[in-house]
């Protein structure tokens, strides 16, 4: 067998040691962090008690996942959780909010973006719907089953079979459109008839009495999304309503939404926006009793840093969602140092009780390290028979002579060894100068390669603006004469650039 030629491999397979997107994680290794994963999955399973549609099920405490240090796999664990729960949950990944006054608005906007993600990686298709599509179909299908089961179709002699079909295959029934059977058309006809629509709304109210009189509004929005083609305008209007934005008159008319249900206003205060956002989130979760529960994951909490207002708000969000929102499980990840020294001390004591006892992440052992290294090397085309050469006679065992370590630490040392085996200097004697334009291009390419990173984030823009305002000469936030809003202004000589958000 020929000697392995690491020089032929152009990509260092160990350089990718940070998870930026939980739906795109590298393969896990046997046993590592299985116990913490199992614990969260078990907590989620409590929400699945009984047959659909379910009564409201109260949430367990927010599952607190603690990493002893950076690099033990918090985001990777969330990725595994997403894979494990797959189509059992509506999965919502949340990055930190920046404005404590509008925390729910931020959570809602991110939720709306996450609802637009497909159930599985890849393009939207009949068998791989967007999360909100599956959700809307699921709710409508079970409601149609209620309609039939409660005798609203006299003379129809296959009620029992139809109810069973609608409940067991809520997504598939929408695709049955043969000559003798078109559930799509029949359900559509119920929504078109004023009388039947009211019956559906009253059945929804009977199942979920806490929608605050918005049953008809929710039904119009779910129908608009479920019955619109991909990228159809009905979907856009539905999502606009979910986000709490005011609908234009023609948009409301398009989905037959009453003006009373079009609550969003252009001049809402921060408090009104926040309140409406929470109402929408709570509504989604209550409706989840018809289909699948929600999983909310608050990740990257280290970015709350030492900002007491943000941390306090995070605590109150966890408290409120625990106390008032059913059919959901909240997960919060944190590094131990951040949790004990920054987050926990600033969270109100009664709110601290809404977090579970810490679920701690594990270190990687030598066997798991071998598996991870092997997977990464094979993924870039190394012949599996040469993997042992990478471990070397002593390299791997020596690395573990001082005990286990974080997965990231192990990957970083493997990346270093890979560079050495490729004949590169372990540490460059003199760092090569890289132009800022090239660094910028690299970052742009990284973002382009991951669709999730391209989604608009109000919080990211706010963070960016604050950083700019803190550190760059000529940057300031000011009110423009004659307008109600503030803008970030970058004054450079005789030019000014305004940032709008």
């Amino acid at each position: 067998m020929a000697e392995p030629d690491f020089k032929k491999i152009t990509v260092n397979p160990f350089d990718d040691d940070i998870v930026t997107e939980p739906r795109d994680i590298p393969a896990s290794v046997l046993g590592l962090n299985d116990a913490p994963l199992r614990e969260v999955v078990d907590a989620f399973a409590n929400l699945e008690a009984g047959e659909l549609p379910r009564h409201e099920i109260k949430a367990s405490k927010a599952q607190l996942i603690i990493s002893p240090e950076r690099g033990y796999g918090k985001s990777h664990l969330l990725g595994r959780l997403f894979k494990e729960l797959d189509d059992r949950a509506t999965l919502i990944y949340l990055r930190p909010f920046e404005d404590p006054q509008k925390c729910w608005h931020s959570i809602l906007l991110q939720t709306a973006q996450e609802l637009e993600r497909t159930d599985n990686p890849g393009e939207e298709s009949e068998t791989n719907p967007r999360q909100f599509g599956a959700f809307a179909n699921g709710v409508i299908s079970h409601l149609a089953a209620d309609y039939l089961a409660q005798g609203e179709a006299p003379g129809y002699d296959k009620v029992a079979e139809a109810v069973q079909l609608l409940r067991k295959k809520p997504l598939e029934v929408f695709r049955i459109t043969n000559e003798t059977e078109s559930w799509y058309a029949w359900i559509g006809s119920l929504f078109q008839s004023k009388e039947e629509f009211r019956k559906l709304a009253s059945k929804l109210q009977a199942r979920i009495p806490n929608l605050q009189g918005r049953e008809e509004g929710w039904l119009r929005v779910l129908y608009a999304y479920a019955f619109s083609p991909q990228d159809g305008s009905g979907r856009k209007v539905a999502l606009k309503w979910i986000r709490g934005e005011p609908l234009e008159a023609d948009e409301a008319e398009q989905i037959l939404l009453s003006s009373a249900d079009n609550q969003g206003k252009a001049d809402m205060t921060a408090s009104e926006t926040n309140s409406l956002s929470f109402e929408r989130l709570a509504g989604l979760c209550r409706l989840a009793g018809f289909y699948r529960p929600f999983l909310f994951c608050f990740d990257q909490t280290e970015f709350y840093g030492t900002d007491a207002d943000l941390i306090k708000t995070l605590g109150s969000c966890v408290e409120k969602i625990f106390a008032e929102v059913p059919n959901q499980l909240t997960v919060v990840t944190a590094n131990q140092d951040n949790w004990t020294n920054q987050l926990r001390p600033k969270i109100e004591p009664p709110h601290q009780d809404r977090f579970s006892r810490p679920i701690e992440l594990e270190s990687i052992n030598v066997g798991q390290a071998k598996e991870l290294i092997r997977n990464r090397l094979i993924s870039v085309g190394l012949d599996f028979r040469h993997v042992d050469d990478f471990y070397g006679e002593t390299w791997l065992t020596e690395m573990f002579q001082t005990g286990r370590m974080s997965a990231r630490s192990m990957l970083q040392r493997s990346a270093e060894r890979f560079r050495v085996l490729r004949g590169q200097m372990a540490v460059p004697v003199k760092k090569e100068k890289v132009r800022i334009e090239e660094l910028f291009k690299t970052q742009v390419n990284l973002v382009k390669s991951k669709a999730a990173l391209q989604a608009y984030s109000q919080d990211a823009l706010m963070w960016f603006t604050q950083k700019l305002a803190d550190g760059i000469k000529g940057i300031g936030v000011s009110k423009i004469a004659g307008h109600k809003w503030f803008s970030t202004k970058w004054a450079m000589g005789d030019q000014s650039i305004y940032f709008a958000f």
Partner: protein, 239 residues
């Protein structure tokens, strides 16, 4: 659902009866039994231990056994100086269901060199090594050399300090090496050497950090790890 582990953990060494768990958790019997079984299988709690007419559950580390009773005995005899207590006097102060493990606790203390049994007439007395050191100050210098040959002595102390710090931080496992050092009052070299050996023996995990804004205590305890650029700031002992 009620966090059963938190319920049991709060009771610490007092333990908590099944009736009280049922009462506080308000869980149905089948769910309660399943959850207790799960916590037991994950070694998070121990029990049931018969006590009176009922049964008690304990968070792991607090359950009756040689180790926990040895710690209780140590608390009672550590600072007696020349007023030695008889074994039966000490035993009287240990409550059930821990009392059943009294002999095991004494055996463990003697075996690990933390106490000796002294005979006087019909009675047996217990003398703790710290009490002996207080009586014979010169003994400290002699034992400093002896400690190298008896790593188990240091291990008991380190583990006791580790568990106490872990408990103070709400059960989080990664404990600051600097805090451990201050709690033990031993030399940094001895503690570092000990922790490295425990990590090599797969009994402990050392966690290097990239943080720069460390507290003085954390910085002082930092343990340089051969072959790694960052020092370990915290340690986790495996259960």
């Amino acid at each position: 659902m009620t966090d059963l582990y938190a319920l049991v953990f709060e009771a610490k060494a007092k333990g908590i009866s099944l009736a009280k768990i049922r009462d506080k958790s308000k869980l149905k019997d089948t769910i309660l039994q399943d959850e207790l079984r799960r916590l037991r299988s994950e070694y998070q709690i121990a029990g049931p231990f018969k006590y009176g007419r009922g049964f008690l559950y304990y968070a792991k580390g607090y359950e009756p056994g040689g180790e926990s009773v040895a710690r209780s005995i140590e608390m009672l005899i550590q600072h007696t100086r020349n007023k030695l207590a008889t074994k039966s006097q000490v035993e009287e102060k240990i409550r059930q269901p821990f009392k059943d493990f009294f002999k095991d606790g004494v055996r463990l203390l003697v075996a690990t060199g933390r106490a000796v049994e002294l005979k006087g007439g019909a009675s047996s007395y217990l003398l703790h090594i710290d009490a002996a050191r207080q009586l014979f100050p010169n003994m400290a210098a002699m034992t400093a050399e002896g400690e190298k040959a008896k790593p188990s002595l240091l291990k008991e102390q380190v583990l006791a300090a580790y568990h106490s710090l872990k408990s103070e931080q709400g059960g989080l496992s990664a404990v600051s090496i600097g805090k451990l050092l201050n709690r033990l009052g031993c030399s940094k070299e001895a503690l570092h050497q000990f922790l490295l050996e425990e990590a090599r023996g797969e009994n402990a995990d050392l966690h290097p950090t990239t943080l720069v804004d460390l507290s003085t205590e954390d910085r002082e305890g930092a343990l340089p790890i051969p072959g790694k650029s960052e020092s370990a700031i915290t340690v986790t002992f495996r259960e």
